[in-house]
């Protein structure tokens, strides 16, 4: 008697209603034993092998992979942050008065032998608001008069 191959028995296990070996299996003790062993091995897979190996099977599909498209998504927040920084630090307002190195005030005296510098070397510190330290001096010498 020719017994069905492993592949046919696998098909039988998968869907007995469509099996081409159903009638043979029903009357064959050897094949019933083979099927019982195959079912037991399948059960071993479900109970022991599946839980122990599922993570490794899924690993390549869940691991983060760096692709150019993902790089674009990562770059987007960085570009947004850069734009905000540029806007915040873009420079002084229209009414800002400033000079590289700070202000220098020189007073001149009209003397009989000519005009001479009377006092000088007063500097505004650029880190401090000019109005609080030398506002009067600054108003005495506006940029337009220089």
């Amino acid at each position: 008697m020719n017994h069905p191959s492993e592949l046919k028995l696998e098909r039988h296990l998968l869907d007995p209603s469509r099996s081409s070996v159903q009638s043979h299996v029903e009357g064959c003790g050897d094949c019933q034993s083979r099927l019982a062993l195959m079912e037991k091995q399948g059960e071993d897979f479900r109970r022991f092998v599946y839980p122990a190996t599922l993570d490794k099977v899924l690993e390549p599909h869940t691991r983060f992979r760096f692709t150019p498209l993902k790089a674009l998504w990562l770059a987007a927040p960085a570009m947004g942050l850069a734009a905000v920084l540029v806007m915040v630090t873009r420079g002084p307002d229209k009414d800002y008065i400033g000079e590289k190195g700070g202000f220098e005030l020189t007073a001149y005296a009209a003397l009989p032998d000519g005009t001479r510098a009377w006092a000088t070397e007063t500097r505004c510190r650029p880190t401090l608001p000019c109005a609080s330290t030398c506002g009067r001096r600054r108003s005495a010498r506006s940029p337009s008069s220089r």
Binding site: Q41, R46, T62
Partner: protein, 159 residues
């Protein structure tokens, strides 16, 4: 493909892969490792796994090739002797199967798969052709060549 879908496919086809690996490797631990490897290879063609008519021959082919490679490689590394390929000594095909076992490792992977399919698993030529994705004529031709070379090999060994 999502993780849930892959897990479902693994649950569906894993038992058949495991059985095939266990049958060819005769080692539970080896079969466990081989099962996940075979399934990962099978995932390269997810459309075949989704079609029950295509899936079984497909995973059978991958599992057979993978396990025969494993056996060949472990034999080369000297780790283990080739395990017996389910050959009860009172089986009428025992001499032929013994012949298969002794000379199997001398042939290429496809010929090995054909020889194991026909002479060990008892598959029909058409089934083997279907499982390996080759023509029935190729199965017959390669099997014939295998048997001729195997006999010559044994005659030389005996002399």
């Amino acid at each position: 493909m999502g993780g849930d879908h892959i897990a479902e496919l693994y649950r569906q086809w894993g038992p058949a892969i495991y059985r095939r690996c266990l049958r060819l490797l005769h080692d539970q631990e080896g079969a466990r490792d081989a099962t996940q490897e075979v399934f990962r290879k099978a995932l390269s063609s997810p459309e075949k796994l989704s079609d029950p008519d295509l899936a079984l021959p497909f995973i059978y082919r991958i599992a057979t090739n993978h396990c025969l490679n494993e056996r060949r490689n472990s034999g080369r590394r000297g780790e283990t002797e080739l395990a017996d390929l389910d050959m009860p000594s009172d089986h009428p095909d025992f001499p032929t199967r013994r012949l298969v076992q002794r000379v199997l490792s001398r042939f290429d992977a496809k010929t090995q798969s054909i020889a194991v399919g026909v002479l060990v698993d008892g598959m029909e030529h058409e089934e083997v052709a279907d499982a390996l994705g080759i023509s029935r004529k190729t199965v017959s031709r390669k099997l014939q060549r295998f048997l001729e070379h195997a006999r010559k090999y044994l005659e030389r060994s005996a002399a």
